[in-house]
Amino acid sequence: MKNLIYAFLGTLFGIVLVKSDVVNWYRIQAMFRFEEAHMYLVFAAAIATGVLSVKLLKIRTAGKGATYNFQGKVFHKGFIIGGLIFGAGWAITGACPGPIFAQIGTGAYPALITLVGAVIGAYLYYSIKGKLPH
């Protein structure tokens, strides 16, 4: 039952992704070429909303025992190296992980190949994880 809530929230998220055009290959190109501000402004507005929301949630739960999971991920070298690798993939496919699923939903079926590649890429990472700097 709970999972249906996540499916519903995902549906809303997919609608917003498509309607704000952040799943569009041409937008991603324009962003990385600094040709238009759209993507940067979307990110800035999303982050500002997120920061403000977290602040409000913290105020609301202050002094109470239970709180939300605000635990940040612990930094290692992979954040930089993996980040650069992911950025290149983002530029090639015009999709970060959420938008891969959104592109598939819009009927841009070549994105299915992007998804297969991503799952295999994850497999490759875990296969050689021990040999990589972290």
């Binding site: 809530i5 996540y6 499916a7 929230l9 995902g10 549906t11 809303l12 997919g14 917003v16 992704l17 498509v18 704000s20 952040v22 290959w25 501000a37 759209h38 402004l41 979307v42 990110f43 800035a44 999303a46 982050i47 909303t49 997120g50 929301s53 977290v54 949630l57 999971n69 991920k73 930094f75 992979g78 954040f79 190296i81 993996g82 980040g83 992911f86 950025g87 993939g89 983002w90 530029a91 090639i92 970060c96 992980p97 959420g98 699923f101 959104a102 939903g105 819009t106 009927g107 841009a108 070549p110 992007t114 590649g117 991503a118 295999i120 890429g121 994850a122 497999y123 990472y125 875990y126």
Partner: protein, 157 residues
């Protein structure tokens, strides 16, 4: 109706995307993130996936599979019922064998990179920055640097 059917401006779309940070915390104390689904599919579908992912906790992350299934449905709804006409999200050259190879390579970089960086634009750039995590800031700078460097080289060469 143009407001609904056209492209939503950044000041509409951006805040709506950011709202998924508190919504998921309120819904089930979940941290917003998407790229773990690649790990999940690797574990549940890919032959040999369980051998490389011995410590992966599938049940803890299964909610994300429902979330991304929702994304597919939502994208279908948005492009079918909430758009003026068909929008091209991928350039025509990707509808070819050569294009497919390029997307596959790009996909591998996304899967490898996001798992190595322990997050993507959702988990680091939106959630991580929302909680002001310094590591997520470094990751986000790296995402953009990787994209700018690749695009620049591709443009010059």
């Amino acid at each position: 109706m143009d407001v609904l059917f056209g492209v939503w401006d950044w000041y509409i779309g951006g805040p709506l995307l950011g709202l998924f940070v508190p919504i998921l915390l309120l819904a089930g104390n979940k941290q917003f993130g998407i790229s773990t689904t690649f790990e999940h599919f690797c574990y549940t579908i890919l032959p040999g996936g369980k051998n490389v992912l011995k410590t992966y906790n599938a049940s803890k992350n299964s909610w994300k599979v429902y979330f991304v299934a929702g994304i597919v449905l939502g994208a279908f709804i948005a492009s079918t019922f909430l758009s003026e006409g068909p929008v091209q999200f991928l350039p025509p050259e990707y509808y070819s064998l050569q294009g497919a190879l390029k997307l596959f390579m790009g996909g591998v970089l996304i899967g490898f990179g996001t798992r190595y960086a322990n997050g993507c634009t959702a988990g680091h750039s939106i959630f991580g920055l929302s909680i002001l995590n310094a590591g997520s800031f470094k990751a986000t700078v790296s995402f953009f640097a990787g994209g700018v460097i690749y695009t620049g080289l591709n443009y010059l060469l």
